[in-house]
């Protein structure tokens, strides 16, 4: 669980280290776009833009979907990252519950001791 987080962040930062890719994210923040749209806007070949989008997709920052002959790109959060965040949230909920439960366990233990003494006397 813990191991893949750093590599995911590395992938995100590597993806963000390039000005074109940051531009693409900014663009997709305004509206979804096809790879052709993006290539035009950034004065690039289709192949060059495909590579950039591929890097962003690997990092989970962009999701692409092919409808007919057009591949549309939109901002996305990588599933694994989303899942890791959810699991951490879920863990925190249980940890908070269990910290409360600790107190009750202590109380019940004390109670048992008192009851035990009562019986003996």
């Amino acid at each position: 669980m813990v191991q893949y987080m750093p590599s995911r962040f590395d992938a995100s930062f590597a993806a963000l280290s390039d000005p074109t890719r940051r531009g693409v994210l900014e663009q997709l923040g305004r509206a979804d776009a096809s790879i052709t749209d993006l290539a035009d806007r950034f004065h690039m070949t289709l192949t060059g833009m495909k590579k950039h989008v591929g890097v962003l997709e690997q990092a989970g920052l962009v999701v692409t979907e092919k409808v007919g002959r057009v591949r549309t790109c939109r901002l996305g959060v990588h599933r694994l990252e989303e899942e890791a965040a959810w699991i951490e949230k879920y863990r925190q909920l249980w940890a908070a519950r269990f910290d409360e439960l600790d107190k009750i366990v202590e109380e019940l233990k004390q109670q048992e001791k008192v009851d035990g003494c009562d019986k003996r006397s």
Partner: protein
């Protein structure tokens, strides 16, 4: 009894671990500084459940809590949250009840709810608690994960803000 030294674990001293162990399974683990019968009691007595099931940090409050802890018996936990007028209800039934050692229950608030198995393993006066949740399918667990995220919009907002910040950043100077 008096001669044995009490373990010195303070409340909150043990780590809670959560792991997705397969496409459709989640496992939660935690050790408690007390015998299994006590931990079991805290899980199966509604008055006690009320005191720990909705921790303050979650923001939620337990409006009502009914638990008929025997095979075939039903449970129903109703939560409120200050951010909403609606309450959220969790319900199902106990399938298996083995005092101080094992509880199995269904989660019926959705069609694709998990079956939860809780085991209490005592060793040297401490109890290892393992909660094993098995969903009917990978899709069901994926949905549960997505559904919970939708219920936590503030988390998305934070992520959005982070993405925006990173996207707007000028990188290394």
């Amino acid at each position: 009894m008096g001669a044995t030294r009490e373990a010195e674990a303070k409340p909150g001293a043990y780590q809670t671990a959560v792991e997705r162990t397969s496409d459709r399974e989640l496992v939660v683990e935690r050790t408690f500084n007390g015998p299994a019968r006590i931990v079991f009691q805290a899980w199966t007595t509604p008055e006690l459940l009320k005191r720990w099931w909705a921790p303050k940090s979650s923001g939620a409050t337990l409006v009502s809590c009914e638990a008929d802890v025997r095979a075939g018996g039903k449970y129903r936990f109703e939560f409120g949250h200050p951010s909403s007028d609606r309450t959220m209800t969790f319900f199902g039934k106990y399938i298996e009840v083995v005092p101080n050692s094992r509880l199995v229950w269904t989660n019926e608030e959705s069609h694709a709810g998990a079956v939860s198995t809780l085991t209490f393993t005592e060793k040297d006066g401490k109890t290892l608690l393992v909660l094993h949740e098995v969903y009917p399918s990978k899709e069901a667990l994926d949905e549960a994960i997505k559904g919970m995220d939708e219920g936590l919009p503030e988390q998305y907002e934070q992520l959005d803000a982070l993405l925006a910040e990173l996207a707007a950043g000028t990188g290394r100077a």
